[in-house]
Symmetry: C2
Subunit: 384 residues, 2 copies
């Protein structure tokens, strides 16, 4: 089998679907009459069924976290850097599960799905979903796969929020929690960036109140702007300087008012390809789920008390140049975990790659994940 | 006379206009058949004509820097905090001049002006202008006012770029240069933020290729987005946290998908009022002038050599939490000035107010400006 990478990869992978026919009550008041979860698994569940590891995706992620869907595919899953044989999330040792969250646009029930009550796509009528709802549905997937308790739940950014919510809502069903480049809740600045992204989509004349698909149009300009803005905030000032500096695209600054600097050209390209593959209503839902995440709100805003139940262990990773989910936000989590007398390892990784670093092969980061997860796997494999 | 402030103010002020009938060649290749500059002056030019101080405005600024236009006006000029009797830019001692730059939308020749060749507004056909062009036109204003040499040229942000350009292009006509919260050139991140703001305007269906005024519409949504984005980047994460935290507007997070957090409501309000008073084509021009500013490009990218001519003195001020024009950018200017053997004072002010701090009454900042400018005025007044 030849795949378009030199990287050791899990190889070809195949999405599966769990269909749940029972109604699902959602935490913000809505409900779904039933739902589907598209997911992938890598590696094998061992006989004691205790080597399962759940990977949670971030804002623009999905179930395809590693490997390739076909021999022709040039890009592997979004966390292929970390998931595979011999990699930190070692598929020779762990049974890795990743699903597209509900509200998503990659196959799980979301705004693009048909609402059985109207026989039309949900579109903007899709109910609001939260990180709590995702944990509930991920737990149903665990039931389906015969997984009583996860060896670990891991995620970066919005994925790290899901990992924390597992420890809070279902502490008996997870033994290790990996929270990477995340926050216990968004800052006003973060909410503000999300709101601008939403406004860019809502103001796009093709958004049509959310009924764009029924009208045969797509709010591509709005999504493109939202993604361009996201991209800037996922990188550091220094990282962008190293990558682009002030290089001109045309080599001639007198070229007129169109795109002139390399950085502009890069952002346009990123924004445009995203706008053709991602659903605008999903983007709105996902950013609101980010905004609303605030588990301490249920514990008198006491993050220490929030983390007191259960006895799972934590690894908290931050990146020095990440200003969207800064090291200070990770430190708040670590401080609360320590005050809650939890077993916590915390690492701040020096890198100029900003928030994006959680997806990149930053050597010390990879080593930290590998060491942490190897130790857990060693213990599993040596237990009777 | 009663004015709507307790603050000692210069009081009522009146804009004046300089009309230049000669053609103006612009640095990026275009030209104007003539132009008008709207300006205000505060204080009196002394007999030796050596106490004139030029204030340069930033992206969204104008000629109305201090005082009030009428007894009913509730908001004074944009730098009223610093300009007035007994204030750092002391109108009892200095003759202060501030003009709206060409390309602007507050009375000087810009995209809203009538192009004499077509008898229609310039709109998107207004030629590109740069910081260099503004210095040329400000020098013509100095000629008109009989000012051979400025005691000081001062500005924050894009205004600081004009102050630097004065020292580079006309070093014999300025004796002190105050560069506040500025940079010797924009970073890739800064260019990227500007590009998103431009795209928001260009994508607004009411932009109509720039011919909105002829079509009786305004690209308000685009300008609003651009301003909202600007506002986030002019404040610090901590500053926004102190101001808004995660406070809800309605007090109820279940209110639906409309504006819910205080920070969103604030940004919407700021964006909306800006979009009704500012011209979109001017916004595009001004952000491009920011992007293009790179005086070292004319000196083999050697900022030290750039600052070698003339013998004016410099004050460089930065703010600890300013991440749009960070202290590191000011340090680059200071390092180059030191290497160029220039007389330079440099201060980094601790404040959570971000880039906006340059407009705010931050006590140490006010004291620094006052001390620096008092010393200059003392020397002027004691000279024979």
């Amino acid at each position: 089998m030849t795949l378009a990478t030199d990287d050791p990869s899990i190889g070809l992978v195949f999405p599966q679907t769990l269909n749940v026919d029972a109604p699902l009550a959602l935490s913000r008041g809505g409900s779904l009459p039933g739902f589907s979860l598209v997911y992938e698994t890598y590696g094998e569940l061992n006989r004691p069924r205790n080597n399962a590891l759940l990977v949670c995706h971030a804002l623009s992620g999905h179930h395809h976290a590693a490997g390739f869907h076909s021999l022709e595919e040039s890009k592997p899953g979004w966390w292929n850097t970390c998931i595979g044989p011999g990699k930190p999330i070692d598929t020779d040792r762990y049974f890795v599960v990743c699903c597209n969250n509900i509200g998503g646009c990659h196959g799980s029930t979301g705004p693009l799905s048909i609402n059985p009550e109207t026989s039309l796509p949900y579109g903007p009528e899709f109910p609001e979903v939260t990180v709590k709802d995702w944990v509930v549905t991920q737990a149903l997937l665990a039931d389906h796969l015969g997984i009583e308790s996860w060896a670990a739940v891991a995620g970066g950014s919005l994925g790290g929020m899901q990992a924390m919510q597992w420890a809070i809502d279902l502490p008996d069903r997870v033994r290790n929690v990996l929270v990477i480049a995340s926050a216990a809740r968004l800052s006003a600045q973060n909410i503000a960036f999300n709101e601008i992204a939403r406004q860019a989509i809502l103001n796009d004349p093709n958004y049509r109140g959310g009924y764009y698909s029924q009208n045969g149009v797509l709010p591509e300009q709005g999504l493109m702007l939202a993604r361009m803005l996201g991209h800037i905030t996922y990188q550091s000032d220094d990282g962008m300087r190293n990558k682009f500096g002030r290089s001109l695209k045309s080599g001639d600054i007198r070229a007129g008012r169109a795109v002139e600097f390399q950085v502009e050209s890069y952002l346009h390209h990123q924004g445009r390809s995203f706008s053709k593959t991602f659903d605008a209503n999903t983007y709105l839902l996902m950013t609101r789920a980010l905004d609303y995440f605030d588990p301490a709100a249920d514990f008198d805003n006491d993050l220490c008390r929030t983390f007191e139940q259960g006895d799972c262990n934590f690894l908290v990773v931050s990146f020095s140049s990440d200003w969207r989910f800064s090291p200070a936000r990770s430190k708040e989590i670590v401080d609360a975990l320590i005050a809650a007398r939890r077993n916590v390892s915390a690492v701040n990784i020096e890198t100029p790659s900003g928030h994006d670093a959680f997806l990149l092969p930053v050597p010390r980061y990879i080593e930290v994940l590998k060491a942490y997860l190897s130790r857990i796997a060693d213990a599993l494999e040596s237990s009777p």
